[in-house]
């Protein structure tokens, strides 16, 4: 007639499990953060990209936000939505290219480093790429950079969503080229499908 048939052993396993899961999940931790007020106004000068490591006076620390964004799922997702709403899709389609070069292959005319892509967006490039400096706040450009890099699998796979809620020419696959014709409501007839 004693109390509680099995007393002390209760806590070992949950602790162990917790520790293992904690270790596993810590890796995913930074990927999940959602930063709403990353760059308070006037903290980050617009469009500043440092091309030379030399600078007069006391060296400034580099913009820290970009590294945080590049592997952050929320930033990639925001970048994707801005890619649509700022009409990047108009020229690059959903990465497959059209009037502009495709972004999901491994050819980079102006370099694939985050800073290069940032510059390309801010400064524009000859033959059609407009300059968005001053039109898009820098943190959003970093989000766009993160998304663009994810198109050619330059970010960890876990940061990018599997699909969007839109029509896809090859449902289930985002690695193939997107259609060039404008989207229609409803399914396109089979004859309009490009040969796969």
């Amino acid at each position: 007639m004693t109390a509680l048939p099995e007393p002390r052993m209760r806590c070992h396993l949950p602790t162990t499990l917790c520790a293992v899961l904690l270790a596993l999940a810590l890796t995913a931790c930074d990927r999940e953060a959602r930063r709403f007020r990353e760059s308070p106004p006037s903290a980050t000068p617009e469009g500043l990209v440092q091309l030379s490591p030399l600078e007069p006076g006391v060296p400034t620390t580099p913009v820290s936000a970009r590294n945080v964004y590049l592997e952050n799922a929320y930033a990639v997702s925001e970048g994707e939505r801005r890619f649509n709403s700022y009409n990047c899709v108009g020229c690059h389609a959903h990465g497959g290219g059209g009037m502009g070069p495709p972004l999901m292959d491994d050819q980079w005319i102006y370099g694939s480093a985050p800073e290069n892509i940032y510059e390309t967006i801010v400064e524009g490039r000859p033959n059609g790429m407009p300059s968005f400096g001053g039109r898009i706040p820098s943190y959003q450009i970093w989000q766009l950079v993160a998304y663009v890099r994810s198109l050619s699998a330059l970010t960890p796979s876990g940061t990018r969503s599997a699909r969007t809620d839109h029509m896809m020419m090859f449902p289930g696959s985002r690695t193939l080229q997107e259609p060039e014709q404008p989207k229609q409501s409803g399914r396109p007839p089979a004859s309009e499908m490009p040969p796969s």
Binding site: M1, T2, A3, L4, P5, E6, M9, R10, H12, L13, P14, L17, C18, L21, L22, L24, A25, L26, A28, C29, R31, E32, A33, R34, F36, A73, Y74, V76, S77, E78, E80, R81, S157, G158, T159, S161, A162, R163, T164, D165, H166, M167, M168, P171, G172, S173, R174, R187
Partner: protein
């Protein structure tokens, strides 16, 4: 024949000593320490830790609720931001529904059912252990994710497209989808065990019309689990997880999927879930009322039928969560009718309890107070439930604080009040010590006041336009005072739960000794020692009425002849519980734990890489082989003549 109620006190003869020693030898756990803990299969130790774990999730989920109440205490409060708040309420809802309310009910069932029907263990003890481990991994997964800022944030209902790949980036919703899988596996496993145990292992003589009402309740619920949970398991694991992880299009409107499909699948589970939670509560109340009025619950057949009707009709009203979506008028009327109809069986049961109290000699113990508190609180949730069955009215209050008030009255009233009552009733059975009644009364009154102060004002908030799931509100909306009142109430609830915890810890340590039957209860669990030995009953009791301990003249008749040199139990027929066969229970084994780990690796790993399925499949194959590896006695030794009927 032995007087089972006094089996401990009886002077033991040599023969009895031998028998007891043999029982002890064959039923005693094979291992000690950590290994013993991992390999345990006894339904009582599994169920005890199941309840303790579920209660831990209840406390953590309650902590979330307290934070939410603090955030809403005044307008434009800055305690938590929207991102954190969304995780708070999602994890609160998910934990309370998936990790507390249903598991704690099945867990108590897993403890009580074998004792109440007079058998030695549940039907599949290893499966039982497996269910617990899966449940534990799922709960740890959710809360660890939450504390790492990866908690799901799209509501416990996870409506697509908000929870789909485009609008819920990262792994948060994947955590939710996989958690649902874990809990559904655990729930289905427990349901299957309970169904088979109740059908095939009742004590001789416990025909269908002698089954205790609580056992009927948990049986109905187990069937509901079997029918309801596959819908959400399929929806969350297959469809949502696949949409998110491998880009299927089940819910993508643009590719022929449908976001409303999710809502139908979810609520086809989600509404019966409500009844899955509170029908066992009705069973608790029946047990409490019976024990403390000293008479059987009035109208036994009506009570049982009511449980069945609730179970059936509970599947016919899921659309009343979706009145604001495109549903034709006729369809809405149908679901209104079903939603109104379900009030009838529940009302009938309440009338029967009132009649029982009227005719009995109630003892107002803490458990009885909780049963009465249940009726007082739950009926408010019931009448508002009838109101929101009305489509036009529901469209005004749907997704507002009125609904929050309604379902907290239903769930706190119908689940938590009976559960606390059950704690006070059966704690002596589980631990051998009584819970303190003075602290118990404090606990009850604080809880009763706290619940009403917290949730009653929410009705008015909802009618005055406050929607659910808002992290803040503007000062000019005029909702501040009532929200502050609700937050004060939440503090009172927290205090009452603290009193309860103190009571449990203190009483488990040095409460008054209970003895086998401290309350003079009618059902079989009071016929054995407290806490019950691993073999539950020294001899399997024979039942001759619905309240065997009250009607047994002087001694409870028992059936003898089970072998004691191995873990043997009696199988009886479904309808009349005539002895039919004998079976051997498995001994302690690590494989259920290994299998649960394999499931854990598969589903948690799948969030990060599809290769987890390959690895997990191999792992699970090994675990399954280990589990199913033939061992123990040879089959020919299992047939052993000498009981009421020959096997086969």
């Amino acid at each position: 024949m032995t007087h089972a109620r006094e089996v401990v006190a009886l002077p033991a003869t040599d023969h009895e000593d031998d028998e007891l020693a043999a029982l002890r030898r064959s039923w005693r756990p094979r291992h000690r320490g950590l290994w013993g803990w991992l390999t345990a299969v006894d339904h009582k130790s599994i169920a005890t830790r199941y309840v303790a774990t579920a209660f831990l999730w209840f406390l953590l989920g309650g902590l979330n609720a307290a934070l939410m109440r603090l955030q809403l205490a005044r307008p434009e409060n800055g305690l938590v931001g929207p991102d954190r708040y969304n995780q708070l309420f999602t994890v609160h809802g998910t934990a309370m529904m998936f990790l507390f309310a249903v598991p704690v009910m099945t867990a108590v069932g897993l403890y009580l059912v074998p004792l109440m029907i007079g058998t030695r263990d549940v039907a599949f003890p290893r499966l039982n252990a497996f269910g617990y481990w899966v449940f534990l991994i799922g709960g740890v997964f959710l809360f660890v994710s939450f504390y790492l800022n990866t908690g799901p944030d799209t509501g416990w209902f996870a409506y697509v497209p908000l929870s789909g790949p485009e609008y819920a980036p990262g792994k948060r919703v994947d955590v939710w989808a996989q958690l649902v899988t874990f809990t559904e596996i655990a729930g289905l496993v427990a349901a299957v065990e309970i169904i088979v145990t109740v059908f095939k292992q009742r004590a001789p003589g416990m025909s269908l019309n002698r089954i205790p009402l609580y056992v009927w309740a948990i049986l109905v619920v187990s069937f509901m689990i079997v029918f309801a949970m596959p819908a959400v398991a399929m929806a969350s694991t297959m469809m949502l997880a696949m949409d998110r992880l491998v880009a299927t299009h089940f819910f993508n409107q643009a590719e022929g999927g449908d976001p409303l499909l999710w809502q139908h699948l979810f609520w086809f589970f989600g509404h019966p879930e409500v009844y899955i939670m509170f029908i066992p509560g009705l069973g608790f109340v029946s047990s409490i009322v019976e024990t403390f009025t000293g008479r059987r619950v009035f109208g036994y057949p009506v009570m049982v039928l009511s449980l069945f009707i609730t179970g059936f009709v509970g599947f016919g009203l899921w659309v009343h969560h979706m009145f604001a979506t495109p549903i034709p008028q006729l369809g809405r009327s149908f679901f209104t009718a079903a939603s109104v109809l379900i009030a009838i069986p529940t009302g009938t049961q309440i009338f029967c309890w009132i009649a029982t109290i009227w005719a009995g000699r109630p003892r107002f113990t803490t458990a009885m107070l909780f049963a009465i508190g249940f009726i007082v609180v739950f009926v408010i949730g019931g009448v508002t439930g009838v109101m929101i069955a009305s489509v036009p009215f529901d469209l005004q209050v749907h997704d507002t604080f009125f609904i929050v008030a309604h379902f907290h009255y239903v769930i706190l009233g119908g689940v938590v009040f009976p559960l606390f009552g059950a704690f006070y009733l059966w704690f002596p059975k589980v631990t051998g010590r009584m819970l303190d009644e003075t602290l118990g009364k404090w606990h009850f009154w604080l809880f009763f006041v706290g619940v009403n102060v917290t949730f009653f004002p929410m009705h008015i908030l909802g009618l005055n336009g406050m929607p659910r799931r808002v992290y803040t509100y503007l000062p000019e909306m005029g909702w501040g005072d009532l929200n502050l009142l609700a937050t004060v109430g939440a503090g009172v609830i927290a205090a009452s739960v603290a009193v309860f915890l103190v009571n449990v810890v203190r009483s488990a340590w040095r409460g008054a000794l209970a003895g086998p039957d401290p309350w003079g209860g009618p059902t079989l669990e009071w016929a054995t020692a407290s806490p019950p030995p691993p073999w539950n009953f020294r001899h399997i009791p024979v039942v001759e009425s619905g309240s065997p301990l009250w009607s047994a003249e002087a001694e409870l008749p028992v059936a003898t002849g089970l072998r004691t040199d191995r873990r043997e139990f009696l199988v009886t027929t479904v309808l009349d519980a005539v002895p039919d066969n004998r079976h051997e229970h498995p001994t302690e084994t690590i494989w259920p734990f290994v299998m649960a780990l394999a499931i854990g690796v598969t589903f948690i790993g799948a969030v990060f890489t599809p290769w987890a399925y390959v690895v997990g499949f191999a792992f699970a194959t090994v675990a399954f082989a280990g589990w199913a590896w033939p061992r123990g006695t040879k089959p020919e030794e299992r047939v052993h003549p000498g009981l009421a009927r020959e096997a086969r």
